[in-house]
Amino acid sequence: MALHESEAIVLRTYPLREADLLVTLFTRVEGKVRGVARSAKKSKKRFGGALEPLTVVRAFYDVRERNELARLDACEVLDSPLSSEVSYLRAVALAHVGEVLDELLPDREANDAVFRLALAVLGHLRGREIWMPITYFQLWMTRLMGYLPDLSECIVCGRSLNGGRAFYHVLADGLMCVDDKRLASSELSSDSRMLATQMFRAPIDTFTGVTWPKELGADLRKLLMQILQRHIEKKLTTAAMLEKIDG
């Protein structure tokens, strides 16, 4: 039995028995770890607000066997979502980041690139602007998980899509040109393809400071959600909640 220490993001908590919480952490050192926080439900003394979802913490935990639940010993808050105003919009965006990470990451497999992405995105989810960080997050997450198809050529004929129109379909593995698109395909605008290219070249800070309406990149986000949900073979609750937000 060894005490592990890692920077971590709290993804989810579930009540367990009378007084305990089952906590899913995305740790920097060993990826997604599930652990039990004893008495955390009954008494706030030991963990305080540290187990609120999307809190960045320094976690101390014991792992006995690889496949067993860890025992969460202590959590120091490094950054709490409660340190800035929690609007409904922001609550949905935060929950979305948590749900996507929880559903896509495998257990006990470190992924520093995803961890850095999550930290950067959380850092930008502070005010009322959520669509830029959410788009950036979904795009990079899809790419880092290895699910993103080439956005520059048709998967059917291999022709370059640059300068032309591009389409996607829920059952197709990539984009299609106007000649090869299937029935009931959706279009991915060239502006959104350009946006994706820019987002792959520059850090998230580059995109701050401009107002970002919901329509901006909406087709791209729809494509990304289709891809991610196809891979996990289920609907994401928060994707539907984001969809419903107006403006």
Binding site: K45, G48, S80, V86, A91, M241
Partner: protein, 199 residues
């Protein structure tokens, strides 16, 4: 084949559905009921039936009650123009224990919870908005939990209520009485600082 006679198995299965009751406890309770005299068993059955038959939500505040409006909403001595919003009916007991709150309540029966697909549309706030719009309220105190979900709920409600020019306040968050500042986590400390008052 089951270990017990059919009626016993059925009782055990029903008891097992209760929170915190496992197989062992359910068996123990079932045998206790079997051994108890007829009057006690009958009283238990009647109490279970009555709680479902006679309890409903107060049409004014959504509190669980057997009379409508509930005791708080129909009280002549309480300030009906001061409304404290809570997430669950059980929260009322905690506030009543202080013996210092003389207003009335509004129960949301939950909070905004995006992970569970619960948005503002699912909150029971229609009758609260109506009370405010009809000019029946001077101040709304938001006493939702100091969690991300409780905060999102409070922020949303405050936006809706302020539209009607309502005075909206949020209960203070901070350091528990009798504890030590040295052991306070930074987020609690930050909230305590934000909620400071002049002496």
């Amino acid at each position: 084949m089951s270990k017990f006679a059919e009626p016993m198995t059925r009782l055990i299965d029903e008891l097992k559905k209760l929170p915190g009751i496992g197989s062992k406890t359910a068996q123990r309770l079932a045998f206790h009921i079997l051994r108890s005299d007829d009057d006690d068993a009958e009283a238990l059955a009647a109490a279970v039936r009555d709680v479902k038959a006679s309890l409903r939500l107060c049409s004014v505040c959504n509190n669980i009650t057997d009379v409508d409006p509930c005791v708080y909403c129909s009280s002549a001595t309480r300030n009906q123009r001061l409304v404290c919003v809570v997430e669950e009916p059980t929260n009322i007991a905690s506030i009543e224990k202080t013996k210092h709150f003389n207003g009335v309540y509004h129960v949301l029966h939950g909070s905004i919870s995006p992970l569970h697909g619960i948005g503002p549309e699912q909150l029971r706030i229609g009758n609260l908005i109506k009370r405010v719009e009809h000019g029946q309220v001077d101040e709304v105190i938001l006493a939702t939990n100091p969690t991300v979900e409780g905060e999102a709920t409070a922020t949303y409600l405050s936006g809706q209520l302020r539209r009607n020019g309502m005075k909206v306040t949020r209960i203070a968050m901070g350091i528990p009485v009798g504890s030590d500042i040295e052991y306070t986590d930074e987020i609690t400390m930050l909230k305590a600082m934000e909620g400071r008052r002049e002496l």
